[in-house]
Protein backbone atom coordinates (compact mmCIF):
# COMPACT_ATOMS: atom_id res chain seq x y z
CA UNK A 1 0.00 0.00 0.00
CA UNK A 2 1.35 3.35 -1.00
CA UNK A 3 1.53 6.05 1.63
CA UNK A 4 -1.16 8.67 1.55
CA UNK A 5 -0.19 12.21 0.67
CA UNK A 6 -1.73 15.33 2.14
CA UNK A 7 -2.97 17.81 -0.42
CA UNK A 8 -4.04 21.34 0.31
CA UNK A 9 -6.32 22.95 -2.22
CA UNK A 10 -8.27 26.16 -2.44
CA UNK A 11 -11.46 25.26 -4.25
CA UNK A 12 -14.09 27.85 -5.11
CA UNK A 13 -12.56 30.14 -2.52
CA UNK A 14 -12.57 27.60 0.33
CA UNK A 15 -9.52 25.86 1.77
CA UNK A 16 -9.58 22.06 1.73
CA UNK A 17 -7.19 19.37 2.88
CA UNK A 18 -7.37 15.80 1.65
CA UNK A 19 -5.38 12.61 2.18
CA UNK A 20 -5.03 10.85 -1.13
CA UNK A 21 -3.06 8.11 -2.80
CA UNK A 22 -0.59 9.74 -5.20
CA UNK A 23 -2.39 8.03 -8.08
CA UNK A 24 -5.67 9.80 -7.29
CA UNK A 25 -6.52 12.18 -10.10
CA UNK A 26 -7.59 15.71 -9.29
CA UNK A 27 -11.01 14.77 -10.72
CA UNK A 28 -11.43 11.88 -8.29
CA UNK A 29 -10.14 13.99 -5.39
CA UNK A 30 -12.70 16.71 -6.13
CA UNK A 31 -15.54 14.22 -6.44
CA UNK A 32 -14.77 11.66 -3.77
CA UNK A 33 -12.78 13.54 -1.14
CA UNK A 34 -14.27 17.02 -1.48
CA UNK A 35 -17.72 15.76 -2.57
CA UNK A 36 -17.81 18.29 -5.40
CA UNK A 37 -19.59 16.06 -7.88
CA UNK A 38 -20.30 18.81 -10.39
CA UNK A 39 -17.06 17.88 -12.12
CA UNK A 40 -17.88 14.91 -14.33
CA UNK A 41 -15.61 12.15 -15.54
CA UNK A 42 -16.23 10.86 -19.04
CA UNK A 43 -13.31 9.22 -20.80
CA UNK A 44 -10.73 9.44 -18.02
CA UNK A 45 -7.89 9.80 -20.50
CA UNK A 46 -8.07 13.39 -21.66
CA UNK A 47 -10.17 13.47 -24.79
CA UNK A 48 -13.74 14.30 -23.74
CA UNK A 49 -13.29 17.47 -21.68
CA UNK A 50 -16.11 16.75 -19.21
CA UNK A 51 -13.74 16.97 -16.23
CA UNK A 52 -12.33 20.41 -17.11
CA UNK A 53 -11.70 22.60 -14.06
CA UNK A 54 -9.83 25.88 -13.71
CA UNK A 55 -6.42 25.47 -12.02
CA UNK A 56 -4.58 28.70 -11.22
CA UNK A 57 -6.58 30.48 -13.90
CA UNK A 58 -6.22 27.92 -16.72
CA UNK A 59 -8.82 25.34 -17.78
CA UNK A 60 -7.23 21.89 -17.56
CA UNK A 61 -8.43 18.33 -17.67
CA UNK A 62 -8.66 17.19 -14.05
CA UNK A 63 -8.40 13.53 -15.12
CA UNK A 64 -4.93 14.25 -16.56
CA UNK A 65 -3.54 15.68 -13.36
CA UNK A 66 -2.85 13.89 -10.12
CA UNK A 67 -4.22 15.63 -7.06
CA UNK A 68 -0.72 15.73 -5.56
CA UNK A 69 0.40 17.83 -8.52
CA UNK A 70 -2.26 20.40 -7.66
CA UNK A 71 -1.08 20.80 -4.06
CA UNK A 72 -1.39 24.49 -3.17
CA UNK A 73 -3.38 25.35 -6.28
CA UNK A 74 -6.35 27.67 -6.57
CA UNK A 75 -9.13 25.74 -8.28
CA UNK A 76 -12.53 26.71 -9.61
CA UNK A 77 -15.04 23.99 -10.45
CA UNK A 78 -18.46 24.40 -12.01
CA UNK A 79 -19.87 24.82 -8.50
CA UNK A 80 -17.84 28.01 -8.23
CA UNK A 81 -19.37 29.70 -11.26
CA UNK A 82 -22.88 30.41 -9.98
CA UNK A 83 -23.58 33.08 -7.40
CA UNK A 84 -25.52 31.17 -4.78
CA UNK A 85 -28.70 30.06 -6.48
CA UNK A 86 -28.36 32.62 -9.24
CA UNK A 87 -26.99 31.37 -12.54
CA UNK A 88 -23.92 33.14 -13.88
CA UNK A 89 -24.47 35.06 -17.14
CA UNK A 90 -22.84 32.18 -19.03
CA UNK A 91 -25.03 29.60 -17.33
CA UNK A 92 -28.11 31.73 -17.96
CA UNK A 93 -27.18 31.93 -21.64
CA UNK A 94 -26.89 28.12 -21.78
CA UNK A 95 -30.39 27.86 -20.34
CA UNK A 96 -31.80 30.46 -22.74
CA UNK A 97 -30.30 28.76 -25.77
CA UNK A 98 -31.04 25.16 -24.72
CA UNK A 99 -27.30 24.56 -24.86
CA UNK A 100 -27.54 21.39 -22.82
CA UNK A 101 -29.70 18.32 -22.82
CA UNK A 102 -28.38 15.53 -20.58
CA UNK A 103 -25.91 17.96 -19.02
CA UNK A 104 -23.05 15.53 -18.58
CA UNK A 105 -20.55 17.55 -20.61
CA UNK A 106 -21.85 20.94 -19.43
CA UNK A 107 -19.55 21.49 -16.40
CA UNK A 108 -16.46 21.10 -18.56
CA UNK A 109 -17.85 23.37 -21.26
CA UNK A 110 -18.85 26.06 -18.75
CA UNK A 111 -15.45 26.13 -17.02
CA UNK A 112 -13.68 26.25 -20.37
CA UNK A 113 -15.89 28.95 -21.87
CA UNK A 114 -15.80 30.99 -18.65
CA UNK A 115 -12.02 31.40 -18.87
CA UNK A 116 -12.12 31.93 -22.62
CA UNK A 117 -14.59 34.81 -22.30
CA UNK A 118 -12.82 36.23 -19.24
CA UNK A 119 -9.59 36.43 -21.24
CA UNK A 120 -11.07 37.04 -24.70
CA UNK A 121 -14.49 38.67 -24.35
CA UNK A 122 -14.45 39.39 -28.08
CA UNK A 123 -13.84 35.76 -29.13
CA UNK A 124 -15.64 35.06 -32.40
CA UNK A 125 -17.50 31.90 -33.33
CA UNK A 126 -14.40 30.37 -34.93
CA UNK A 127 -12.30 30.93 -31.83
CA UNK A 128 -15.06 29.56 -29.59
CA UNK A 129 -15.34 26.48 -31.80
CA UNK A 130 -11.58 25.99 -31.74
CA UNK A 131 -11.42 26.22 -27.94
CA UNK A 132 -14.48 24.04 -27.39
CA UNK A 133 -13.12 21.40 -29.78
CA UNK A 134 -11.69 19.87 -26.61
CA UNK A 135 -15.16 19.20 -25.22
CA UNK A 136 -17.36 16.44 -26.58
CA UNK A 137 -21.15 16.78 -26.40
CA UNK A 138 -23.30 13.91 -27.63
CA UNK A 139 -26.69 15.67 -27.30
CA UNK A 140 -26.76 19.15 -28.73
CA UNK A 141 -24.81 19.09 -31.96
CA UNK A 142 -22.90 22.10 -30.57
CA UNK A 143 -24.89 24.79 -32.44
CA UNK A 144 -26.74 26.00 -29.35
CA UNK A 145 -23.57 25.82 -27.26
CA UNK A 146 -21.76 28.17 -29.62
CA UNK A 147 -24.80 30.49 -29.69
CA UNK A 148 -24.95 30.56 -25.90
CA UNK A 149 -21.26 31.40 -25.55
CA UNK A 150 -21.55 34.11 -28.21
CA UNK A 151 -24.55 35.54 -26.37
CA UNK A 152 -22.74 35.52 -23.01
CA UNK A 153 -19.92 37.69 -24.34
CA UNK A 154 -21.82 40.90 -23.53
CA UNK A 155 -21.69 40.16 -19.79
CA UNK A 156 -17.93 39.54 -19.90
CA UNK A 157 -17.30 42.70 -21.89
CA UNK A 158 -19.08 44.72 -19.19
CA UNK A 159 -17.10 42.97 -16.47
CA UNK A 160 -13.69 43.58 -18.02
CA UNK A 161 -14.49 46.89 -19.67
CA UNK A 162 -12.80 45.51 -22.77
CA UNK A 163 -15.79 45.96 -25.02
CA UNK A 164 -17.48 49.08 -26.41
Amino acid sequence: MTDLATVQLKVNGKAFEASVEPRTTLADCLRHDLKLTGTHIGCEHGVCGACTVIVDGAPVRSCLMFAVQADGADITTVEGLAHGNALSPLQAAFRRHHALQCGFCTPGILTTAHVLLSEEPDADADRIREVLSGNICRCTGYIQIIEAVLDARAAYKQKTGAGP
Partner: protein, 292 residues
Protein backbone atom coordinates in the same frame (compact mmCIF):
# COMPACT_ATOMS: atom_id res chain seq x y z
CA UNK B 1 -9.12 3.41 -15.89
CA UNK B 2 -7.16 4.30 -12.76
CA UNK B 3 -3.38 4.40 -12.80
CA UNK B 4 -1.31 1.81 -10.96
CA UNK B 5 0.09 2.74 -7.58
CA UNK B 6 3.27 4.80 -7.41
CA UNK B 7 5.35 6.80 -4.98
CA UNK B 8 5.48 10.49 -5.69
CA UNK B 9 8.37 12.92 -5.31
CA UNK B 10 8.34 16.63 -5.99
CA UNK B 11 11.92 17.90 -5.83
CA UNK B 12 12.55 21.61 -6.16
CA UNK B 13 16.15 21.32 -7.37
CA UNK B 14 17.27 19.84 -10.67
CA UNK B 15 20.07 17.85 -9.03
CA UNK B 16 17.60 16.28 -6.59
CA UNK B 17 15.35 15.24 -9.46
CA UNK B 18 18.30 13.65 -11.28
CA UNK B 19 19.40 11.87 -8.08
CA UNK B 20 15.90 10.41 -7.66
CA UNK B 21 15.83 9.25 -11.27
CA UNK B 22 19.30 7.73 -10.86
CA UNK B 23 18.27 5.95 -7.66
CA UNK B 24 15.11 4.39 -9.11
CA UNK B 25 16.32 3.79 -12.65
CA UNK B 26 13.82 2.44 -15.14
CA UNK B 27 11.12 2.13 -12.47
CA UNK B 28 10.94 5.92 -12.28
CA UNK B 29 9.42 8.42 -14.68
CA UNK B 30 9.66 12.18 -14.71
CA UNK B 31 6.37 14.04 -14.95
CA UNK B 32 5.73 17.69 -15.68
CA UNK B 33 2.46 18.57 -17.44
CA UNK B 34 1.58 14.89 -17.66
CA UNK B 35 -0.53 15.30 -20.79
CA UNK B 36 1.08 12.30 -22.49
CA UNK B 37 2.18 10.28 -19.46
CA UNK B 38 -1.07 10.39 -17.49
CA UNK B 39 -3.17 8.96 -20.36
CA UNK B 40 -0.54 6.22 -20.77
CA UNK B 41 -0.84 5.51 -17.05
CA UNK B 42 -4.64 5.59 -17.23
CA UNK B 43 -4.46 2.89 -19.91
CA UNK B 44 -1.74 1.16 -17.88
CA UNK B 45 0.50 1.24 -20.92
CA UNK B 46 2.86 2.87 -18.43
CA UNK B 47 3.02 1.87 -14.78
CA UNK B 48 6.03 3.60 -13.21
CA UNK B 49 6.57 2.74 -9.55
CA UNK B 50 8.04 6.17 -8.88
CA UNK B 51 6.99 9.53 -10.29
CA UNK B 52 9.38 12.45 -10.06
CA UNK B 53 7.40 15.65 -10.54
CA UNK B 54 9.75 18.24 -12.04
CA UNK B 55 6.97 20.80 -12.49
CA UNK B 56 8.15 23.10 -9.72
CA UNK B 57 11.86 23.17 -10.42
CA UNK B 58 12.67 26.83 -10.96
CA UNK B 59 14.46 28.14 -14.04
CA UNK B 60 13.13 25.62 -16.57
CA UNK B 61 10.26 27.72 -17.91
CA UNK B 62 12.12 30.51 -19.69
CA UNK B 63 11.74 31.66 -23.26
CA UNK B 64 14.65 33.66 -24.68
CA UNK B 65 15.73 34.57 -28.19
CA UNK B 66 19.05 36.12 -29.18
CA UNK B 67 21.34 35.99 -32.22
CA UNK B 68 22.61 32.52 -31.21
CA UNK B 69 19.41 30.63 -30.62
CA UNK B 70 15.79 30.56 -29.60
CA UNK B 71 15.92 28.88 -26.19
CA UNK B 72 12.84 27.31 -24.72
CA UNK B 73 12.89 25.76 -21.26
CA UNK B 74 11.59 22.23 -20.78
CA UNK B 75 8.73 23.39 -18.55
CA UNK B 76 7.45 25.99 -21.02
CA UNK B 77 3.83 25.16 -21.74
CA UNK B 78 2.17 25.35 -25.14
CA UNK B 79 0.05 28.24 -23.89
CA UNK B 80 3.22 30.18 -23.07
CA UNK B 81 4.40 29.78 -26.66
CA UNK B 82 0.99 30.66 -28.11
CA UNK B 83 0.89 33.81 -26.01
CA UNK B 84 4.51 34.90 -26.44
CA UNK B 85 4.74 38.12 -28.49
CA UNK B 86 8.51 37.51 -28.65
CA UNK B 87 8.14 34.11 -30.34
CA UNK B 88 5.65 35.45 -32.90
CA UNK B 89 8.67 37.25 -34.33
CA UNK B 90 11.50 35.01 -33.17
CA UNK B 91 10.00 31.72 -34.41
CA UNK B 92 6.63 32.01 -36.19
CA UNK B 93 6.87 28.41 -37.49
CA UNK B 94 7.04 27.07 -33.94
CA UNK B 95 4.07 29.19 -32.86
CA UNK B 96 1.97 27.96 -35.78
CA UNK B 97 2.87 24.33 -35.11
CA UNK B 98 1.99 24.68 -31.43
CA UNK B 99 -1.49 25.93 -32.34
CA UNK B 100 -2.13 22.48 -33.82
CA UNK B 101 -1.28 20.61 -30.62
CA UNK B 102 -4.22 18.74 -29.08
CA UNK B 103 -6.83 20.94 -27.40
CA UNK B 104 -6.93 24.20 -25.45
CA UNK B 105 -7.07 22.42 -22.06
CA UNK B 106 -4.12 20.19 -23.00
CA UNK B 107 -2.09 23.15 -24.26
CA UNK B 108 -2.64 24.79 -20.89
CA UNK B 109 -0.61 22.06 -19.20
CA UNK B 110 1.50 20.20 -21.75
CA UNK B 111 5.20 21.08 -21.87
CA UNK B 112 7.90 21.29 -24.51
CA UNK B 113 10.22 18.92 -22.62
CA UNK B 114 7.47 16.39 -22.06
CA UNK B 115 6.56 16.22 -25.73
CA UNK B 116 10.20 15.77 -26.76
CA UNK B 117 10.78 13.05 -24.16
CA UNK B 118 7.54 11.28 -25.12
CA UNK B 119 8.69 11.24 -28.76
CA UNK B 120 5.39 10.53 -30.43
CA UNK B 121 6.13 10.33 -34.17
CA UNK B 122 2.97 12.31 -34.96
CA UNK B 123 3.65 15.09 -32.44
CA UNK B 124 4.35 18.64 -33.57
CA UNK B 125 7.25 19.61 -31.28
CA UNK B 126 9.52 16.70 -32.23
CA UNK B 127 8.71 17.52 -35.87
CA UNK B 128 9.78 21.13 -35.41
CA UNK B 129 12.92 20.00 -33.59
CA UNK B 130 13.89 17.75 -36.51
CA UNK B 131 12.94 20.22 -39.24
CA UNK B 132 14.78 23.11 -37.60
CA UNK B 133 17.85 21.14 -36.47
CA UNK B 134 17.22 21.88 -32.82
CA UNK B 135 19.60 20.86 -30.10
CA UNK B 136 18.16 19.34 -26.96
CA UNK B 137 19.96 20.19 -23.74
CA UNK B 138 19.76 17.39 -21.20
CA UNK B 139 21.02 17.21 -17.63
CA UNK B 140 22.20 14.06 -15.89
CA UNK B 141 24.48 12.93 -13.06
CA UNK B 142 27.52 13.70 -15.23
CA UNK B 143 26.39 17.23 -16.08
CA UNK B 144 24.74 18.63 -19.17
CA UNK B 145 25.02 17.68 -22.83
CA UNK B 146 23.36 18.94 -25.99
CA UNK B 147 21.95 16.32 -28.33
CA UNK B 148 21.03 17.11 -31.95
CA UNK B 149 17.36 16.31 -32.51
CA UNK B 150 18.33 13.59 -34.99
CA UNK B 151 20.20 11.87 -32.16
CA UNK B 152 17.34 12.14 -29.67
CA UNK B 153 14.57 10.29 -31.48
CA UNK B 154 15.47 6.64 -31.99
CA UNK B 155 11.99 5.20 -32.60
CA UNK B 156 8.32 5.59 -31.84
CA UNK B 157 8.00 6.76 -28.21
CA UNK B 158 11.69 6.08 -27.78
CA UNK B 159 14.63 8.43 -27.20
CA UNK B 160 18.34 8.17 -26.52
CA UNK B 161 17.88 9.71 -23.07
CA UNK B 162 19.27 7.70 -20.18
CA UNK B 163 16.80 6.95 -17.42
CA UNK B 164 18.56 9.46 -15.14
CA UNK B 165 18.62 12.28 -17.69
CA UNK B 166 16.18 15.15 -17.97
CA UNK B 167 15.55 17.52 -20.84
CA UNK B 168 16.12 21.06 -19.59
CA UNK B 169 15.97 23.15 -22.76
CA UNK B 170 15.50 23.05 -26.51
CA UNK B 171 17.60 25.37 -28.66
CA UNK B 172 16.36 26.29 -32.11
CA UNK B 173 18.70 28.04 -34.55
CA UNK B 174 17.77 31.73 -34.84
CA UNK B 175 15.09 32.79 -37.28
CA UNK B 176 15.89 35.05 -40.19
CA UNK B 177 14.02 38.07 -41.50
CA UNK B 178 13.88 36.84 -45.10
CA UNK B 179 12.54 33.44 -44.11
CA UNK B 180 9.39 31.98 -45.66
CA UNK B 181 7.62 29.12 -43.94
CA UNK B 182 4.58 26.88 -43.88
CA UNK B 183 3.07 24.35 -41.50
CA UNK B 184 0.26 22.01 -42.45
CA UNK B 185 -1.21 18.96 -40.82
CA UNK B 186 -4.35 16.92 -41.20
CA UNK B 187 -6.37 15.09 -38.60
CA UNK B 188 -9.91 13.79 -38.88
CA UNK B 189 -11.06 15.82 -35.89
CA UNK B 190 -9.59 19.03 -34.55
CA UNK B 191 -7.06 18.21 -31.84
CA UNK B 192 -6.55 14.56 -32.78
CA UNK B 193 -3.11 13.25 -33.57
CA UNK B 194 -2.09 14.25 -37.07
CA UNK B 195 -2.43 11.57 -39.73
CA UNK B 196 0.44 13.48 -41.31
CA UNK B 197 1.98 16.91 -41.07
CA UNK B 198 4.62 18.96 -42.88
CA UNK B 199 6.79 21.83 -41.63
CA UNK B 200 9.04 23.71 -43.99
CA UNK B 201 11.00 26.92 -44.37
CA UNK B 202 13.50 28.53 -46.70
CA UNK B 203 15.35 31.80 -46.97
CA UNK B 204 14.48 34.03 -49.89
CA UNK B 205 17.62 35.11 -51.70
CA UNK B 206 17.82 38.59 -53.28
CA UNK B 207 16.86 37.25 -56.71
CA UNK B 208 13.93 35.29 -55.33
CA UNK B 209 15.46 31.83 -55.10
CA UNK B 210 14.88 29.51 -52.18
CA UNK B 211 17.97 28.79 -50.12
CA UNK B 212 18.63 26.82 -46.94
CA UNK B 213 15.50 24.75 -47.54
CA UNK B 214 14.33 22.61 -44.63
CA UNK B 215 11.39 20.23 -44.91
CA UNK B 216 10.19 17.82 -42.23
CA UNK B 217 7.24 15.48 -41.85
CA UNK B 218 5.38 13.97 -38.89
CA UNK B 219 3.10 10.97 -38.67
CA UNK B 220 4.70 9.06 -41.54
CA UNK B 221 7.49 7.13 -39.83
CA UNK B 222 8.73 5.91 -36.46
CA UNK B 223 10.28 9.32 -35.86
CA UNK B 224 9.78 12.74 -37.43
CA UNK B 225 11.63 12.82 -40.76
CA UNK B 226 13.65 15.32 -42.74
CA UNK B 227 12.70 15.04 -46.41
CA UNK B 228 15.99 15.72 -48.19
CA UNK B 229 14.63 14.86 -51.65
CA UNK B 230 11.98 17.54 -51.22
CA UNK B 231 14.58 20.02 -50.05
CA UNK B 232 16.66 19.24 -53.16
CA UNK B 233 13.61 19.83 -55.38
CA UNK B 234 13.22 23.34 -53.99
CA UNK B 235 16.78 24.44 -53.20
CA UNK B 236 18.07 27.19 -55.49
CA UNK B 237 14.77 27.48 -57.36
CA UNK B 238 12.22 30.25 -57.56
CA UNK B 239 9.13 28.65 -56.04
CA UNK B 240 6.47 28.36 -58.73
CA UNK B 241 3.41 26.17 -59.14
CA UNK B 242 5.57 23.64 -60.99
CA UNK B 243 8.10 23.51 -58.18
CA UNK B 244 5.26 23.11 -55.70
CA UNK B 245 3.95 20.06 -57.60
CA UNK B 246 7.45 18.59 -57.90
CA UNK B 247 7.99 19.04 -54.17
CA UNK B 248 4.69 17.33 -53.37
CA UNK B 249 5.53 14.38 -55.63
CA UNK B 250 8.99 14.09 -54.06
CA UNK B 251 7.45 14.11 -50.59
CA UNK B 252 5.09 11.25 -51.38
CA UNK B 253 7.99 9.24 -52.82
CA UNK B 254 10.19 9.96 -49.80
CA UNK B 255 8.03 8.33 -47.14
CA UNK B 256 6.98 4.75 -46.54
CA UNK B 257 4.38 4.80 -43.78
CA UNK B 258 2.85 1.50 -42.70
CA UNK B 259 -0.87 0.76 -42.78
CA UNK B 260 -2.52 1.18 -39.43
CA UNK B 261 -5.98 1.41 -37.93
CA UNK B 262 -6.22 5.14 -38.70
CA UNK B 263 -5.11 5.23 -42.32
CA UNK B 264 -3.47 3.14 -45.00
CA UNK B 265 0.15 3.77 -45.87
CA UNK B 266 -0.92 4.88 -49.35
CA UNK B 267 -3.30 7.42 -47.89
CA UNK B 268 -0.61 8.92 -45.70
CA UNK B 269 1.82 9.06 -48.63
CA UNK B 270 -0.74 10.94 -50.71
CA UNK B 271 -1.51 13.18 -47.76
CA UNK B 272 2.10 14.14 -47.12
CA UNK B 273 2.36 15.19 -50.78
CA UNK B 274 -0.72 17.38 -50.54
CA UNK B 275 0.42 18.91 -47.25
CA UNK B 276 3.86 19.64 -48.71
CA UNK B 277 2.25 21.41 -51.67
CA UNK B 278 -0.01 23.39 -49.41
CA UNK B 279 2.75 24.37 -46.96
CA UNK B 280 5.07 25.43 -49.78
CA UNK B 281 2.31 27.44 -51.50
CA UNK B 282 1.60 29.23 -48.22
CA UNK B 283 5.30 29.88 -47.73
CA UNK B 284 5.62 31.37 -51.21
CA UNK B 285 2.36 33.30 -50.97
CA UNK B 286 0.99 31.45 -54.01
CA UNK B 287 -2.49 30.02 -54.48
CA UNK B 288 -2.68 26.25 -54.16
CA UNK B 289 -4.54 24.19 -56.75
CA UNK B 290 -6.87 22.76 -54.08
CA UNK B 291 -7.87 26.18 -52.74
CA UNK B 292 -11.49 27.07 -53.32
Amino acid sequence: MKASRFDYFRPTRLEDAIALLAEHGREAKAIAGGQSLVPMMAFRLAAPRFLVDIGRIPGLNRIAADHDAVRIGALVRWRDIERSPELQVAHPLLVEAVRHIAHYQIRNRGTVGGSLAHADPAAEMPGIAITCEARIVVAGPRGQRAIPATGLFVGALSTSLDSDELIVEVRLPPWRDNRRWGFQEFSRRRGDFALAGVALFYDNSKDGQAANVHVGAIGVGDTPLRLSAVEAAIEGKVVTETIIRDAGAAASESVHPADDIHASGDYRRALVGVLTERALARAAGLPWRGDI
